[in-house]
């Protein structure tokens, strides 16, 4: 399944159903393996991707995910962008708090995935929706 992936190019996956969330996990796993992340780091980034892709689906009303291999000097990494044109997050500080949920969740998706990656960037507004970029570097 991962054989046909050209890792020089960003890999896109739309997120319209919970089957797509599964596909996002598998895609991120393939890229993380190719970037030589350790097993624990692979697990962390795939878990973060699963959380964020589910948010894109549930709260963002669907959207897209793009996975890219990035390089800085000697290290490789995985960069993932989650984008939706949903309602945006009104109170970002609140949403990033452990345990805050507006749905029936545990409220760990955003705050927890920030701890699982090395870089976490979020842009959100009512007009343009939410765009989250995360990066995990190999050690």
């Amino acid at each position: 399944m991962t054989a046909g992936i050209d890792l020089g190019q960003p890999q896109a996956q739309s997120v319209r159903s919970d089957e797509d969330v599964v596909r996002v996990r598998q895609l991120v796993r393939a890229v993380a393996v190719a970037s030589k992340l350790s097993l624990v780091d692979q697990t962390k980034v795939v878990t973060a991707a699963s959380e964020l892709a589910r948010n894109t689906l549930v709260y963002g009303g669907g959207g897209s995910v793009e996975v890219t291999v990035v390089e800085n000097g000697r290290r490789k990494g995985v960069q993932i962008v989650f984008a939706d044109s949903g309602p945006g997050i009104a109170d970002l500080d609140l949403a990033m708090t452990d345990g805050y949920t507006s749905g029936g969740g545990l409220g760990l998706g955003l705050s927890g995935s920030r701890r699982l990656v090395d870089e976490f960037q979020i842009e959100t507004s009512v007009e343009t929706g939410t765009r989250i970029t995360v990066t995990k570097w190999s050690r």
């Binding site: 919970d18 089957e19 969330v21 599964v22 996990r25 598998q26 796993r29 097993l39 624990v40 692979q42 697990t43 962390k44 795939v46 878990t47 699963s50 959380e51 589910r54 452990d98 969740g105 545990l106 760990l108 998706g109 705050s111 927890g112 995935s113 701890r115 699982l116």
Partner: protein, 136 residues
């Protein structure tokens, strides 16, 4: 949608999750399991997650819910086989899996359930023939 099979082994229901479950599959498993506990009258459930390479908050919550439901239905749930990388990640994510009993593998899980069951049997004064002799 794929479905996770539930096996009945003696007095125990064994669920071995072999696929990367979609959220819907996970919810379905939760429902199927509740029905099987009632239908079979089993007192133990083992959920084997050896094959899972991640557990996120959704699956974590499903495991907690299954444990709570089975408790209400008088069955003990043990989650077994969590991989080290998965456990390390869950700790970082902040998921504590409260109320879930865990064991390293299926055998250890069976021991836990047997021990819990034996404690209960202590209060019944007649001796239960398969309490000790079940393993050949």
């Amino acid at each position: 949608m794929e479905r996770v099979p539930i096996l009945k082994i003696g007095d125990i229901l064994l669920v071995s999750i072999q696929l990367d479950m979609s959220d819907q599959t996970a919810v379905q498993l939760q429902e199927d399991l509740a029905e099987r506990i009632v239908a079979t009258g089993c007192h133990g459930v083992i959920i084997d997650i050896t094959a899972l390479d991640i557990v996120d908050s959704f699956v974590g919550r499903m495991l907690s819910t299954i444990a709570s439901i089975s408790k209400v239905l008088d069955a003990e749930t043990v989650v077994v086989g969590m991989r080290p990388a998965v456990a390390i990640t869950l700790v970082e994510l902040g998921l504590s899996l409260n109320g879930i009993r865990t064991a390293l593998n299926v055998e250890r899980g069976m021991e836990l359930i047997a021990a819990a069951h034996a404690d209960e049997l202590d209060y019944q004064l007649d001796d239960d023939p398969d309490a000790e002799t079940a393993t050949p």
